[in-house]
Symmetry: none
Subunit: 215 residues, 2 copies
DNA sequence: GTCATTACTAGTACAGTGTGCTAGTCTCGC
DNA sequence: GCGAGACTAGCACACTGTACTAGTAATGAC
């Protein structure tokens, strides 16, 4: 019998499920473009693939759970407070929010490394299945931007004409996301200094475009 | 055509490369979301994976070649002629031009490689001196876009109010360039397939924004 | 108490993926 | 002839997701 150990450890101090989720989240933090392969997550969590598959029968289930967990933690920036400062034009506020997002992205030292690793991925064609983590996180970010756009657009439409028929906040958010991606990429390219001066102009054009979709 | 057969068949009636490409194109026609796995394409083309890999060392090369072949059906030069096709809305024409530019950029493997290597540079701070080539090429592209914008904007301002005070074509071109950069980058990231559907929407927002700078 | 049902863990097996590698064939220039 | 290079074929490796079985621990019924 021996029973030399494990008396308290026997009953999972942290549940296996928790360990799996936190391992997956850590991997996603290391590399947002990670595929979150079942085996890799299980190994990092220190459990077997069988255990993992008991809680998450399919990879999709795992990814959904991880993204949901991350989404639950999402804190609200102080930038958000500027969102409702109605003393300033809506476009200016949106530009501020975008500028803040851009600044955060550029300030992150590892951002460029992650972008590079994503681009250097061996098979970056990747089926949509493999891209699921990336897409899910992207959707999360876009949802936040879409929230800003919806708020500001409703407000703008309020003090002008009724307008804004069939306004598509998702398309606007996606558009703004693309603009930010472009700015981040350009900033990682040579000659960044001479381009930085144009950021505000570009952001203003983009913000104006999204907030004046009436017509 | 009496002699309907086989005289030239002895020596690869259709080159292996052609067969591979047409097989891949056929598979893409069957299912636009097909993954185009190396083995599946080789089997459908009736060649071995080794042969396929001789012509297309990597899956990326294969897909690029297929996309390029499909894209080649519609040459770019005629896009320019569409610039002055006043029967169509200016925004539509600008979207077409941008779409063509984007397509060319995506089909160009060396463009991706350059983007990757530029981002991989350890300290990409790089003085503006070193960045001279990059900036020169960029200026060239932006000048072309600025030309389009100027032409189309002048036309649009013509049939509406005088407007367009202090219109800045350079800022608009730079903005459009950033959008294109963003799209190219996103397309190199995982999940590109599911994002491609939004390209037109994003380009249309951008084009509209640039061409309606009056106020 | 015993015992059965359930929850969980571990590990293996299979089919599929991209890519590296070697060995063979074939054709062309000398 | 014959050597060099283009081409072809196929296997091996390291991955991937998932199905599957076997074993262990906890829980509840009786």
């Amino acid at each position: 019998m021996t029973e030399e150990v494990t008396v308290p450890e026997r009953q999972t101090p942290v549940s296996t499920r928790e360990r799996i989720l936190s391992a997956a989240a850590a991997m996603l933090a290391d590399d947002p473009a990670a595929t979150l392969s079942v085996r890799a997550v299980a190994q990092r969590a220190g459990v077997s693939t069988g255990s993992l598959r008991h809680f998450f029968p399919t990879q999709r289930d795992l990814i959904d759970a991880v993204v949901a967990a991350i989404a639950a933690i999402q804190p609200t920036d102080e930038l958000e407070s500027a969102l409702h400062d109605t003393t300033r034009p809506a476009v200016e506020r949106l530009v501020d929010l975008l500028r803040g997002t851009l600044r955060d992205a550029l300030a992150d030292e590892s951002a460029r490394a992650r972008l590079r690793s994503a681009l250097a991925a061996p098979s970056s064609i990747a089926t949509d299945e493999q891209a699921a983590p990336t897409l899910a996180l992207e959707r999360l970010a876009l949802r936040q931007i879409a929230g800003w756009v919806t708020t500001l657009h409703a407000e703008a439409a309020d003090d002008s004409d009724t307008g804004a028929l069939q306004f598509d906040a998702d398309a606007g958010a996606r558009f703004l996301g693309t603009v930010l991606t472009g700015l981040v990429t350009e900033q990682a390219l040579p000659g960044a200094l001479s381009r930085a001066a144009f950021h505000d102009g570009t952001l203003r054009i983009a913000a104006t475009a999204v907030l004046s979709t009436r017509r």
